[in-house]
Amino acid sequence: MLQLNHVAKLFNPATPDEKIALFDIQLHMKPGDFVTVIGSNGAGKSTLMNIISGVMKPDTGNVIIDNEDISHLPEYRRSQWIGRVFQDPMAGTAPRMTIEENLAMAYARGKQRGFSLGVKASKRKLFREHLSRLGIGLDERLHAKVGMLSGGERQALSLLMATFTNPQILLLDEHTAALDPARAELITQLTESIVREMNLTTLMVTHNMEQAIRLGNRLIMMDGGRIILDIDEERKKDLTVERLLGEFEQISGHKLSDDRLVLG
């Protein structure tokens, strides 16, 4: 489904600020894989997401989706396969536009955008159905400007917008990190049920160790631009937070330092 082959990314090459953000990354995901990603600050997790989604181009290596090399495609062309939710609740929605307009833009993903009306009665009905499944009353507020919503509501909407057109790949970059614990838990639950229901191939960066273990069927750990540990479903079953942190220290030689670290 998703393959990264020998991907490397340098920032500020050949200057004193040179930074190896990714170093020879190999990652293969099967259809329906739900992989959680943990790692220290600056490990390269967000860079990895950006390389997959096309925000950045790798210096070497390639990105393959469904046996098609998409390394050369710009971000907007790749988005037909990729759904994304960002860490910042402000990032995934357009605040001065209404909920239904935001959904209409998400609905048009991968289609030619022309002169036909963005929000039609038939679409509105579909939007309302999807919104009601979130269970937070957004289906009653189709005409509300998204800027009026709380962070949690916006993130739930972002998640819906990223997924309801059934993307091949879902990328979640700490999408609950900016929320308070109760809202974060709600978004986590929504994520879990949506991913399971739609069987989405998902890559989720999280700073919550317990969540990284509980969710998904595979866990990878990054440090210094490398994938240093890759834990499959079998081994993930009897993993604990202590063992995970222990392994990290053993392999990387230092403690996991993440300013947003949550153990569970």
Partner: protein, 304 residues
């Protein structure tokens, strides 16, 4: 007096297309586009030249509109593909258009007095509102289409709309082009109303457009796109009424209008930020007073 008010209504509607153009760049795309001063003249120049060469006024007007579209595409390309700063792209295009407009007109001033124009066969006060309503309906319909939504999102959250597959370079070019098309349409119509085109006719247009947008928003509000665009049109009319009234004040001269316009825009730009600063100061005062009070109570309570 009544006559000058009707006149203000008429030119307010004609300049409203220009204001709508400015609304698209400034408000929707959040792109301060200075091409306007040049493209307004481009529209006027094309229309005047074609009419004086015997072409039909309708074709001349549409060609003026087309000239603006092309000018906008150039600014958009400079900004998106050439990666030139937005203000700079507009300024460059504005300067370039001066020479181009001069080439089109081949002299600084063209009179089309007593020649054919859109306003000859139908009374301006009938035809102008009709054109305004048609343009408004088409523009609003466009802004609610899939492409229009992407255009609006480009100014609202570019990263987000790109993640949903819109080519934001393209949406910006479309927006800037449409904006300058409307500005040039306005120029083409004004040239016919006033029976001449002048190479300096567009000077200061951008500020007038901004003033109209700001006045419209302040007086009539802007809850959604339809409401906002109607407010901009009404803002343009109010602006012309203000001009007409100011011209009747004895100690004011016609040339003072640009200063007055600039002052209107400055007030509108400064007011919100000063208001915010004052509000924050008040809030800070109140909060620190509260915190002090709580602190005093604690120390008075003794013990811990």
């Amino acid at each position: 007096m009544i006559d000058s008010l009707w006149g203000a209504l008429e030119s307010g509607l004609l300049y409203a297309f220009m204001a709508l153009g400015v609304y698209i760049t400034f408000r929707i795309l959040d792109f301060p586009d200075l091409t306007v001063d040049g493209s307004f003249t481009t529209g006027a120049a094309i229309a005047a030249v074609m009419i004086s060469n015997g072409y039909s006024p309708i074709l001349a007007t549409l060609s003026g509109f087309g000239g603006g579209l092309v000018a906008g595409v150039c600014t958009g390309l400079l900004h998106t593909k050439g990666k030139i700063n937005g203000l700079m792209s507009g300024i460059l295009m504005m300067i370039a258009l001066y020479s181009i407009n001069m080439r089109i007109m081949s002299k600084p001033n063209i009179s089309i007095y007593n020649m054919d124009s859109i306003f000859i066969s139908v009374k301006p006060l009938i035809i102008v509102p009709i054109i305004a309503i048609v343009v408004l309906v088409l523009l609003d319909r466009f802004l609610y289409s899939d492409l229009g939504l992407a255009l609006r999102a480009t100014g609202d959250n570019e990263r987000m709309i790109r993640s949903f597959g819109a080519n934001t370079d393209l949406t910006k070019i479309v927006g800037i082009s449409l904006s300058n098309g409307l500005v040039a349409l306005s120029g083409a119509l004004i040239a016919q109303q006033s029976s001449f085109a002048d190479i300096n006719g567009g000077v200061g247009m951008i500020v007038i457009g901004l003033a109209s947008v700001i006045i419209g928003e302040a007086v009539f509000g802007a809850s959604n796109v339809i409401h906002h665009t109607i407010s901009v049109v009404l803002g343009s009319i109010i602006y012309r009424i203000v001009v007409a009234l100011a011209l009747r004040v004895e100690w004011l001269e016609a040339s003072d209008m640009k200063l007055i316009t600039a002052i209107i825009v400055i007030i509108a730009l400064v007011l919100p930020s000063t208001r915010r600063v004052i509000k924050q100061k008040k809030m800070a005062k109140k909060r620190s007073a509260e915190i002090l009070l709580v602190g005093q109570k604690k120390t008075m309570g003794g013990g811990m």
